[in-house]
């Protein structure tokens, strides 16, 4: 009797390298060879552009004036090329070289239309209530001429935000807080030394406090220095479910200046200008202007010296308007990314995959890298095409567009591509967790697209909209925001107006956090569960 020992079978084939790159190659081959998925990704890009085009095609711009026809929707541009509002009552003298202007303000009062409704013609005072707008401004200004949009620096007392130093429309620094009365006046001073303007304020005219400095590059030798008063439009927005409506009409501010002291080589006489606002013939503009009695100047102004903030009501288009189709593209990407894993469960291919590569976490990682990269590219192409094509259609239809700095455009396009990629990874991970495509697709769409619709299509009022775009994965749409929110401009900064509560990358971070949590869950479940 001899005992035979069985030698276990050993393959003579050399073991294949099980590097991550090979795994990636395998997953890429799976993706590439399923025609439906490739077609799906192309569809995602096409849908993104097509929905944007539909939005542009369905918009029109026209003049509601008595003669109809073409009208000028152009907005004045500031020194930085940004769209601005530059309307005020300005009393000025030319100032050559260095110098300074000092004033005392003893009163700032205002009137505003009740309910934001335009008072009827011929009866301008009938529905005006008395009260000064929070961002009404009166003070001293040094400006590069009286053209709208020219460079300036100003120190101004505001209706409710104390003394501010502002320059070139977008910059704003706070000075002494509090309001003004005859008993407690405010002294303001602005000095020019070359390109540098320095603002001071004081409560008594002897103890001065520096607010800040502004550098206005390229300021000419001779500038206009003087007093100004302005008061922004009074807007009442009624928020409601399924849409909000707003009424707005001009308000007035009246300021009393005395102890005016202009140092330096100044021109002889004061000249008064009403900048913007349609000139003295515009309805209700009769009371704009200034009176001088001895050393006391009383200026009444209306308008605003501030950046233009786009919103629902503004006719001009922003770059994110052309990306309105992104959510539709995301739905398609979600479907493909989910199927990228659920199809394996349905066909049983997952068993082959996990046999070939038993380290399951790496399989999930490879799948995520492949679908993320493909979706990123799809999003990049789709967003770039949408911005270019839809923007061109909007311009050809006569819409003015808000100029977007190149860096912001790049961030919007790349951010949108990242939005596609992270959404795809989230969908893939959720597909791995649920192993069923219908549930996974629905969950992703309900989590990302539905809050976006509720917030952006103004289905919900502003409060819940802000919470939705802060807490849900839909916060990631903030990465498309190109518009700025300015503290010194009162406006409706709601998601429906294009203003998200989180900063662009922070918003995308919220989605990334959700995706990371689901990917981690998927990795654990994939390891623990039977395939």
């Amino acid at each position: 009797m001899t005992t035979t020992t069985a030698t276990p079978y050993r393959s003579t084939q050399a073991a294949a390298r099980d590097g991550f790159l090979r795994l990636l190659h395998g997953e890429w081959t799976k993706f590439r060879t399923v025609r439906g998925w490739v077609v799906g990704m192309v569809t995602a890009a096409l849908v993104t552009v097509a929905v944007g085009l539909l939005g542009a095609a369905g918009s029109s711009i026209s003049c509601s004036g008595p003669h109809g026809g073409k009208c000028d929707h152009s907005v004045p541009k500031g020194p930085g090329g940004q769209e601005i509002r530059d309307a005020m009552t300005l009393v000025h003298r030319p100032l050559t070289g260095d110098g300074s202007i000092t004033v005392r303000i003893t009163s700032l009062t205002g009137r505003y239309p009740e309910g934001g409704r335009q008072p009827a013609d011929g009866d301008p005072g009938a529905t005006m209530l008395s009260g000064v707008q929070p961002w009404a401004k009166a003070g001293v200004i040094v400006k590069d001429g009286t053209k709208q949009g020219s460079a300036y620096a100003a120190v101004a007392l505001t209706g409710a935000h104390g003394v501010r130093m502002q320059d070139d429309f977008t910059h704003d620094v706070a000075g002494i807080p509090g309001g003004v009365s005859a008993a407690s006046p405010r002294w303001l001073r602005l000095t020019r030394a070359g390109d540098t303007l320095t603002g001071y304020d004081s409560a008594d005219g002897t103890h001065w406090h520096t607010i800040g400095t502004a550098r206005l590059a390229g300021l000419p030798e001779t500038v206009q220095a003087g007093l100004f008063t302005t008061s922004p439009e009074y807007v009442v927005t009624s928020n409601s479910l399924g849409g909000s409506s707003s009424n707005g009409a001009p308000s007035r501010a009246t300021a009393v200046f005395d102890s005016v002291d202009l140092h330096g080589k100044a021109g002889a006489a004061w000249a008064a200008d009403v900048l913007g606002g349609g000139g003295p013939d515009a309805p209700g503009a009769a009371d704009l202007g200034y009176r001088q009695a001895g050393g006391t100047y009383t200026l009444t102004g209306s308008g605003d010296v501030a950046p233009e903030v786009p919103g629902r009501g503004s006719p001009a288009k922003t770059v994110e308007n052309s990306l309105i189709g992104v959510f539709a593209g995301l739905v398609v990407v979600t479907v493909v990314a989910t199927m990228f894993v659920t199809a394996e469960y349905r066909r049983g291919l997952i068993r082959t995959t996990l046999t070939a590569s038993p380290r399951r976490g790496r399989v999930l990682a490879a799948k995520a890298v492949v679908i993320g990269a493909v979706s990123f590219l799809t999003g990049l192409v789709a967003a770039a095409a949408a911005v270019l094509v839809v923007g061109a259609v909007e311009r050809s239809k006569g819409f003015p567009t808000y100029p977007t700095p190149f860096a912001t455009s790049v961030r919007v396009v790349v951010g949108t591509a990242a939005l596609f990629a992270v959404t795809a990874v989230l969908a893939l991970a959720l597909g791995t967790v649920l192993r069923r495509s219908a549930g996974a697709v629905t969950a992703v769409v309900v989590a990302i697209v539905l809050p976006y619709i509720l917030a952006v299509a103004a289905v919900l009022p502003a409060g819940p909209s802000r919470w939705l775009t802060r807490l849900t994965p839909a916060a990631a749409f903030a990465v498309e925001q190109s518009v700025h929110q300015y503290a010194q401009v009162a406006a409706d900064y709601t998601p429906a107006d294009g203003y998200f509560p989180l900063a662009p990358w922070a918003g995308l971070g919220v989605l990334c956090a959700y995706a990371a949590a689901v990917v981690a869950t998927a990795a654990v479940l994939l390891r623990r569960r039977d395939a």
């Binding site: 309105i324 299509a457 103004a458």
Partner: protein, 255 residues
């Protein structure tokens, strides 16, 4: 007739015994009522000039609940395509019309029950919360409120039938859910960016979601793009078109 009854019974057995489907239905009820109650709690009406529609507010959850209804409908049919069960089904009941009719009947019945519970919960929450927030005269006994509530139940059923038709035609679950949710949610977004009033009205009139949800209007407004019942009829047209397409593909296609 007897075949139809048996087919319905068979479909009901499938729904009853498949894991998750009835849980999904429960989720629709809870989600709808919870979102409705949350919205009602978040909204306040100013004493002067209250223009908000209490009907729409108290039924906001339907916008979420419809996603669940759509998924349920998709799972009813695409699950069979996924596993090959559809071949057994059509072998047992060779008449495709009967198969689809049975599925539609079971789905409609389920959604009717879930819809009554979900909408009932929403209206109850609105009845309790809204009067404290400045809304007056919100009561289920009020004609338009009853119409809004009953219409919302029908809305859920019709969205389910629309999804069933799409899923039958598309066969794949993920693609079907994508198509249905895209179809529902595309139009409201598009309408929000379209500035041409004619386009806006047209979009609101033809879109399955915006037109269908017009049934939730409880206050008279002359500017509404479409009336409550006409809106529901638009959605019904979408649903029947989708079911007819499904029937055609079922007849002409191999399973």
């Amino acid at each position: 007739m007897r075949t139809l009854r048996q087919a319905v019974h068979a479909e009901w057995t499938k729904v009853r015994t498949l894991p998750g489907l009835l849980w999904l239905l429960a989720a629709v009820v809870v989600l709808t009522a919870a979102v409705s109650a949350g919205t009602a709690a978040a909204v306040r009406c100013p004493a002067a000039g209250c223009t908000q529609d209490p009907g729409r507010i108290s039924l906001t959850g339907v916008q979420f609940g419809q996603a669940g209804a759509a998924v349920l409908a998709v799972l009813l049919i695409s699950g069979e395509y996924g596993t090959g069960m559809i071949r057994t089904t059509v072998t047992a009941v060779p008449r495709r019309t009967v198969v689809l009719a049975a599925k539609a009947a079971v789905l409609a019945g389920l959604l009717l029950v879930a819809g009554v519970l979900a909408v009932g919960g929403s209206v109850l929450a609105g009845r309790l919360i809204l009067p404290g927030h400045g809304f007056t005269g919100f009561s289920p006994a009020h004609g338009p409120v009853f119409r809004a509530a009953a219409g919302s139940v029908l809305y859920l059923v019709l969205v389910g039938l629309l999804s069933l038709g799409v899923a039958t035609a598309v066969r794949d679950a993920a693609a079907a859910v994508g198509v249905v949710l895209g179809l529902l949610y595309l139009f409201p977004i598009l309408a929000s960016v379209v500035s041409d009033p004619d386009w806006y009205r047209r979009l609101e009139q033809v879109a399955p979601m915006t037109a269908g949800l017009a049934v939730q209007t409880t206050i008279t407004s002359s500017g509404a793009p479409i009336g409550p019942l006409a809106g529901l009829a638009v959605l019904a047209a979408w649903s029947s078109t989708s079911l007819l397409t499904a029937l055609t593909t079922l007849h002409t296609r191999d399973t």
